[in-house]
Subunit: 147 residues, 2 copies
Amino acid sequence: MSAKIFPTAQDAQNAFYEALERSDLEAMMAVWSEDEDIVCVHPAGQRLAGQAQVREAWRQMFAGGPGMRVKVAQRVAVNGMMLAVHSVHEHITVTGEQHARPSIVATNVYLRTPAGWRMVVHHASPAPAEPAADATPAAPPGPKTLH
Amino acid sequence: MSAKIFPTAQDAQNAFYEALERSDLEAMMAVWSEDEDIVCVHPAGQRLAGQAQVREAWRQMFAGGPGMRVKVAQRVAVNGMMLAVHSVHEHITVTGEQHARPSIVATNVYLRTPAGWRMVVHHASPAPAEPAADATPAAPPGPKTLH
């Protein structure tokens, strides 16, 4: 289906967050394994399993066009020969909003396929504010617009 | 540290949910990899990383003693030689409560270590009720008590 080859799990992850920022459905689905055993959990959302459910949710999410910046931080990684797991915090800034959204914790799992590394699991959930965040001023807003 | 050997990821997962039901801290920590690269996210909780944080959260959770039953369902699994990922729904019933709690979606990642399969990631978050659940009567309560 797709000609994209990601030589490492990190390459697949970079492409995932680029597709998310660009609201690019085809680029997003090119990051995912073509297998039916894929799982996606959006923050506070139901578990989506298989190509059709995962694609439809991204299609709906991207319908409004691009409008967010995602800063990925505090990665914890466990790497195998065939599978890699990255735990990250996502700091999302939406165009037109003054402050960053509450951060998201995500577990991203990548599988080494004949077509390079692909995502098989994205599990994201809201992360409560950390104590340090309450004691310091809010971070300055990110760049206002992408386009 | 521990003499427990889990020959498969599923064995480690079974031990995980048994320890959870028994509120058994030592049995729980025997399921986890002894590495510092472990990650645990409880529903609506912050990401916990490393032995000390993960252990302390279970210690607090287990302080009241056992009192829940966990039914694990709808597993999606991706298995590698060294890593295995299980996506499950957890249906939790708390002793003394009439109805099951809202279900939890969990991503469990297991690593094949020299000491057998161990957990390296547990990411749990509340799953909204599925449409079908609204249309049918609530499930009957589970067994009232364990002890």
